[in-house]
């Protein structure tokens, strides 16, 4: 069953065509990776899917519904969320508070109800707190829940972003270079973690430069170059694709 279907998607910045008529899809339970050299348009593609930017043309269908051009908060409420290549943690909040914001869509109580502590507000709060703790434990940051988020080391801030996004219980998560800044051990742990997302009900779209991880976790890989789709296939197929090798991976990779 297809959860995300992108067809003919394009985005221009002035003279630059960041995304050029790209087609691909993600099926439920799949881990699909987008790879390509710097400036290939991977982050722009994520921005379009998550609503951070609007497409110039083409369509993005999520569960059959057109989400291209929708604001990001509505897309998130539908169950699509993301992490950021350039970290976007809430520096002014603690670790667990960061993740509780991720669980925002699981609550219903409004401003007036919150202000007067309407019955049900307390139980909703503890539910959200519980969700956040579970998400932190998932990524192994449970111990650090009460620390200010900004003092976490770089690699842990990446994990925090993943926990925050997973607290939303997303159907689809977009991970933009989650392993950047992590050492080999951390990267291996991250790969194992991501591999488990589908069984938690979360399909994955992954952008990552660490090829070892990409090859290990991906069911399918889409290769972008200068905004256009160059190739698509299983990790094995991609590694043997001569166009991919010459355009991106380079002779020395395999």
């Amino acid at each position: 069953m297809i959860i995300l279907e992108v067809t003919g998607l394009s985005k221009h910045f002035g003279g630059v065509t960041a995304v050029n008529s790209v087609d691909f899809h993600v099926s439920r339970g799949e881990i699909v990776s987008i790879i390509g050299p710097n400036g290939a348009g991977k982050t722009t593609l994520f921005n379009l899917i998550s609503g951070v930017a609007g497409p110039d043309s083409g369509s993005i269908k999520y569960n059959g519904e057109e989400i291209g051009g929708m604001p990001p908060d509505r897309i998130a409420v539908l169950g699509v969320t993301r992490t950021f290549q350039n970290l976007q943690i809430f520096r002014n909040m603690t670790v667990v508070e960061n993740v509780m914001v991720g669980a925002h869509r699981l609550g219903r109580k409004g401003l007036l109800q919150a202000g007067v502590r309407w019955p049900g507000v307390a139980s909703e709060e503890s539910f959200i707190y519980g969700r956040a703790i579970a998400a932190l434990e998932l990524v192994g940051l449970g111990e650090k829940k009460d620390m200010p988020a900004e003092i976490l080391p770089y690699g842990e801030q990446r994990l925090l972003e993943i926990a925050r996004a997973m607290a939303l219980e997303p159907d689809l998560i977009l991970l933009d270079e989650p392993a950047a800044g992590m050492n080999q051990g951390e990267t291996n742990g991250l790969g194992e973690l991501i591999s488990r997302f589908p069984e938690m009900g979360t399909s994955v779209l992954l952008v990552e430069h660490n090829m070892e991880m990409v090859m290990a976790v991906s069911h399918r890989i889409v290769v972008l170059d200068h905004g256009s789709k160059l190739a698509e296939g299983t990790p094995l197929e991609i590694q043997q694709d001569s166009r991919v090798i010459s355009a991106y991976l380079g002779e020395e990779v395999f």
């Binding site: 409420v77 919150a114 007067v116 003092i151 925050r164 070892e212």
Partner: protein
């Protein structure tokens, strides 16, 4: 270890609150005369207003330069409804708050979608318009000379006619205002608002509707102002436009900034500090510079506002809290913020891909 630290912090906070209540309860009995009590009533009224402004400035990251107009709408709404139409004070207060909420809503939806300073400009403009309205609608508002005969606040016939009764009434409202604000700040919505401060982009991608919450918090802060205005009208029983002009708006912003935007008790401190300064200034300036006029005040407060923004951007309470936190914990000592290291385009062993499905 962290657990016990939090617990004792909670206990300390609770104790502090009890002490505050005890002082608040016994204060009128200790006052030598009603002049001081009157000042404390005013501090309470302004505090309600400034708590609302702090919610807006500290949690929604927006400044209103016309909040005195909402204060005025509350005062005039209550005054007119009780004097001209014979309403009871409590329903009049609620109706005035509703009208104010509507006005704020219209200003909010038309500007909060735009970036940064548009709300400040829009509130400034609306504030001026509302002020002119108070001045020019002579038949309705009595124009520049205002109108009098506003009844004391009363609930079910019980009148808050004496200084002491009014003191308890106002501070009861202050406690309500603080409780509501605290509950809000410590809720899902409060967290969402703080998240907007940290990263509007990430908050949006977590499903936080920034625009909606900003409008809501702006309307709420206007309602705080309106309630304060109603309490003011029933206290002084006479109103004219002058306390609701631009200078008042600036003073409110100053009170909020001095008190500290992101705290709930800060506003009370900020109000007390500014009112005390005003009294001192009014006593001192004529002695020192006999030729100085009223404009001296606004220049002086303008300078203080700039100084606070530069040297104590988090206000009195924020500044103190930070210094305290820095001294007490190692949290903020090592502020190493690793830069993203060079890209890792690793050489994979020919890993075979897992098949989809």
């Amino acid at each position: 270890m962290i657990q016990s630290g939090l617990l004792s912090k909670k206990v300390a906070r609770y104790l502090l609150f009890l002490i505050f209540i005890a002082i608040l309860g016994t204060l009128p009995l200790l006052m030598p005369n009603t002049y001081y009590l009157g000042n404390i009533v005013l501090i309470g009224i302004y505090s309600i207003m400034v708590i609302g402004l702090c919610l807006l400035m500290g949690y929604a990251g927006q400044v209103s330069l016309g909040h005195a107009a909402f204060y005025g709408l509350g005062a005039y709404g209550s005054g007119l409804l009780t004097v001209n139409w014979g309403w009871q004070p409590l329903p009049a207060m609620l109706a005035a708050a509703l009208i104010t909420a509507l006005v704020a809503f219209l200003i909010g939806i038309s500007t909060l979608k735009l970036k940064e300073h548009y709300l400040a400009l829009a509130t400034l403009g609306s504030g001026v318009i509302i002020y002119i309205f108070f001045n020019e609608q002579v038949n309705l508002t009595g124009g520049p000379s205002g109108f009098s005969g506003i009844p004391y606040f009363s609930i079910a016939g019980w009148e808050f006619g004496s200084e002491i009764r009014y003191y308890y009434l106002v501070w009861f409202f202050v406690l309500l205002a603080v409780a509501f604000a605290r509950n809000l700040v410590n809720s899902r919505i409060g967290r969402a608002l703080r998240a907007l401060h940290g990263s509007e982009l990430a908050a949006a991608c977590m499903g936080v509707p920034a625009y909606k919450y900003k409008v809501q918090i702006f309307v709420l802060s206007a309602v705080y102002g309106s309630i304060a205005g109603s309490l003011y009208a029933h206290y002084v029983t006479f109103i004219s436009p002058s306390p609701f002009g631009f200078q008042a708006s600036v003073e409110f912003v100053l009170m909020a900034a001095i008190g500290g935007l992101a705290s709930i008790w800060g506003p009370i401190l900020g109000v007390a500090a500014v009112l005390t300064l005003t009294e001192l200034l009014r006593a001192l300036v004529p002695v020192l510079i006999p030729t100085a006029g009223g404009e001296f005040e606004i220049i002086f407060f303008g300078l203080i506002l700039v100084a606070v923004m530069i040297f104590m951007p988090e206000g009195l309470t924020g500044g103190i809290k930070n210094r305290w936190a820095k001294r007490k914990s190692g949290y903020y000592s090592g502020k190493e913020q690793a830069e993203g290291p060079a890209r890792n385009v690793a050489l994979p062993p020919a890993a075979d891909g897992r098949a989809a499905e």
